[in-house]
């Protein structure tokens, strides 16, 4: 099934999320296997970003645990990160570098070799043909987001964690991204994402989780 050499499972076990002194979610458990898109919903401030950070191991859960292929991600550390692609609220690009240089660095961090012509092709597909050699500070809000998202086209990791990936994108780009996520899930990828836009995805398993009280 698909391009992934092996099957993977992301498991959340009785997660409790607390921010400040406020309980955000409680006894949250789920198991995501190849081909699943988990779509987190909830009003502003209900803990979506907090949950994504927990899944990435960037914050520790108040209680409970997150496991990857049945091993706690705390213990896996870098081993886990060989499998995860996270794109958060912030685009994670250096404004002084060009789009290509930024991608090169992002790929290196997850140990992926940078292929100049592939990256150029992806950026062109994403409508950045004109801006390839500009420092990214000269790009508009939506163009910066596109540079960050280009990683989705250039890396081969089985788990994507996306926090409001459609922010600042115009209709064309939104559509391309949606298709990309669908294609990824259809070849066996696992996706956890949030967005305030309405989405319906054509994927093997589409699960929704509302964090509202």
């Amino acid at each position: 099934m698909g391009f992934l050499a092996s099957n993977h499972v992301l498991t959340a076990d009785n997660l409790v999320g607390v921010r400040g002194e406020r309980l955000l979610f409680e006894k949250l458990s789920f198991e995501l296997t190849n081909g699943t898109v988990l779509y987190l919903q909830g009003a502003n401030g209900t803990g979506k970003t907090t949950l994504l950070h927990t899944i990435c191991g960037l914050s520790k859960p108040y209680k409970g645990s997150v496991s990857w292929d049945s091993e706690n991600i705390d213990g896996l550390a870098e081993e886990y990160y060989r499998h995860v692609l996270y794109i958060g609220h912030l685009p994670g690009i250096k404004e002084d570098l060009t789009a290509l240089e930024n991608l090169q660095f992002s790929l290196a961090l997850t140990g992926t070799q940078f292929n100049f012509s592939q990256a150029t092709k992806v950026l062109e597909t994403l409508g950045l043909a004109k801006g390839l050699n500009l420092p990214t500070r000269m790009l508009s809000q939506g163009q910066k987001r596109r540079v960050a998202l280009a990683r989705l086209w250039l890396q081969n990791l089985p788990l994507w964690v996306l926090d409001e990936p459609f922010t600042a994108l115009d209709a064309g780009a939104t559509n391309m991204l949606k298709q990309k996520i669908e294609a990824f899930a259809n070849t066996g990828g696992i996706v956890v994402m949030t967005t305030h836009q309405e989405v319906m995805m054509n994927v093997p398993r589409f699960e929704q989780l509302r964090l509202d009280a």
Partner: protein, 238 residues
Amino acid sequence: MAETILVKELDIKQLGTFSVLYRILARDIKVALRRQSDVTAVFFFFIIAASSFPLGSGADPKLLSAMAPSVLWVTALLSCMLSLSRMYASDHADGTLEQIMMSNQPTVLIVLMKILAHWVLSGLPLVFVAPLIGIQFNLSSAELQILAVSLLMGTLALSLIGSIGAALTLGIRGTGVLIAILVLPLYIPVLVFGAGAVNAVSIGMSPNGALSLLGAVLAMAIVFAPLASAAALKIALE
């Protein structure tokens, strides 16, 4: 718009640890060189700050050469410190730090690379200008030589120790000054041994004792500073 590219069409290769680390070093240096001002800036800050001491104290050449070792060393220390806030702050502000912490390489190694980049860009250049400024303060050539040697070892220690402060103050406003407070006390041994070596030469003694103590401080910093910085970064992100 255009067609979607599938990952299976791509030719994806894995990088070894060494290449990843090299990329990190290279990127930091590239970012700095891109805005040349950054590299030259520490450099010129050192020159300008060191030259303003004579302006504050009439132009008595004897007083100047007596002040010189401490003035040059303290100024070097301040210049290194000024550029510390740049070490992780921009990576934090734009989200790159999350990527770094989620890298498939041990954080300690990545941190070590970032420290090295900082030293190459801000400490190393001082080793070369400091003697030139020393001439303006009428230092002898023996003093100038030890000044350069002590700065070579000392600035690396400053970058290592400073990294801890930079990581601890991440995401906090008015960082520049706060780092200064955290880091200056830790810098004191480096200053005492570094300037001490030059002072020793001035009064005709051997600088070897001070230099070997400086070496010991450096060795400790190499072992502990990356560990402490990595831990601090993890805390800053939570």
